[in-house]
Amino acid sequence: MSERKIRVLIAKPGLDGHDRGAKIVARALRDAGMEVIYTGLHQTPEQIVETAIQEDVDFIGLSCLSGAHMTLFPRVMGLLRENGVEDIIVTGGGIIPEEDIPKLREAGISAIFGPGTPLEDIIEYHRKAK
């Protein structure tokens, strides 16, 4: 009777007003049988982390197009640590320059999905990582 469902929070931190990409990923993950919590635009890192805790998600997908990922993504990681959350896998998407990736990985972001990433790869990543 017991069945685990993969739960993913798709969040858009920061001020940019475009969530097309985030929505496409959200739908793809849903179609792959996952439960996707979608919270809309303009989320603060505090809101994202609190939502992730209440929803007990396995993954947080952060999408950022505004260029503020270098401050926002590590801030989310920091807040997760402050709250003692170590078991949520955080990924990033949006427009992220190649040279920023090593730093984001160092900050604890597990994977970065650039604009061209096939949806199948993103789905596979979520299936495999859990």
């Binding site: 009777m1 017991s2 069945e3 849903r30 996707v36 919590i37 979608y38 989320q43 609190e50 805790i53």
Partner: protein
């Protein structure tokens, strides 16, 4: 520390984890649920249902804020349909509740219906009990008013609010038979739009059809959820309904019905599993199914025979 103790001490992560375990039918949830049970039974459970896009989430966001002004703690369980084909879901009700995220007096949980019969009520029941024991004063459950499962969820609430909006067409098509009866409070949201009076009149006409005199006359209220108009009055109506239930003694009756509904949901799950999954019974069930498939027996006779077999076996 034990999950239940952590919850009673106010640990939000423990709350979230136990709700997941209950949702996943994890047998290990049972111990914690047993320990939490004596600490539950204080919360006022409020169901909010209505057609897609009527403004339920926006309304709940405003209501929660209104209760927060009175320093009441608010739990919210927002249910969205899962895809019957993939089992996946997009749970988007939190979009309307952003500012509640970081209020420590509020706990919001999104749930997919996950398509299992009676399973949803069980999961919602468990989540309610957990939030209740966690100390939430009001627990609001949002469901899309579309079918049987919603009526079932409504039976888990003390107070059920039906949210409508001024119609695009002529009739309130969305209010189906069986749904009207469960409403304790009717809300015409989006009262900033054309056609409010008409929707109100239709609601009133449908309520009047129910000629039987009742101790509680369901009020019909107007709200504009995104500007907050009418929210305080709605909160007062919810509190008045609770006071009414307590005053006339129905509070205990409703509690009895609620608990019975939850208990039945649990039993249904257990019994189904006992017949279809229990190692002793599964072979009997499978064999019987195969006989029906071969047209050797009809399902009714098979059910009778199966029940007779199961009730005579000593486990």
């Amino acid at each position: 520390m034990e999950l239940a103790q952590r919850i009673l001490k106010g640990d939000r992560r423990a709350v979230a984890r136990l709700i997941s375990m209950a949702e996943n039918f994890d047998p290990q949830a049972q111990d914690a649920m047993r320990l939490l049970h004596p600490h539950s039974g204080r919360a006022h459970i409020v169901g909010v249902t209505g057609p897609p896009g009527a403004g339920k989430s926006t309304l709940i966001d405003r209501l929660a804020k209104s209760y927060r002004l009175l320093n009441k703690k608010v739990g919210i369980i927002a249910v969205d349909p899962s895809s019957p084909f993939t089992g996946g879901a997009i749970l988007g009700d939190r979009i309307r509740m952003s500012d509640l995220n970081t209020d420590s007096g509020v706990f919001i949980r999104s749930m997919g219906t996950r398509g299992h019969l009676g399973g949803l009520s069980r999961a919602v029941c468990d989540a309610m009990l957990i939030l209740d024991a966690f100390g939430m004063d009001i627990i609001i459950i949002e469901t899309v008013g579309a079918g049987q499962s919603e009526v079932e969820i409504a039976s888990l609430a003390h107070t059920t609010i039906l949210v409508e909006m001024p119609g695009l067409g002529d009739d309130i098509q969305t209010i189906k038979a069986g749904i009207m009866e469960i409403g304790d409070i009717f809300v015409v949201n989006k009262a900033d739009r054309q056609g409010v009076e008409r929707t109100e009149m239709e609601l009133k006409a449908m309520l009047d059809l129910d000629s039987e005199e009742k101790a509680w006359t369901p009020p019909i209220m107007r709200t504009i959820a995104n500007s907050g108009e009418g929210i305080t009055a709605l909160r007062d109506a919810i509190d008045a309904h609770r006071a009414h239930l307590v005053a006339c003694g129905d509070w205990n009756l409703v509690n009895h019905d609620r608990i019975r509904a939850g208990f039945m949901a649990l039993l249904r799950n257990r019994l189904t599993a006992f017949i279809t999954e229990n190692p002793g019974n599964k072979p009997i069930f499978d064999a019987m199914t195969a006989r029906i498939v071969r047209r050797e027996i009809d399902p009714y006779t098979a059910a009778d025979e199966l029940m007779a077999k199961l009730t005579s076996i000593k486990h």
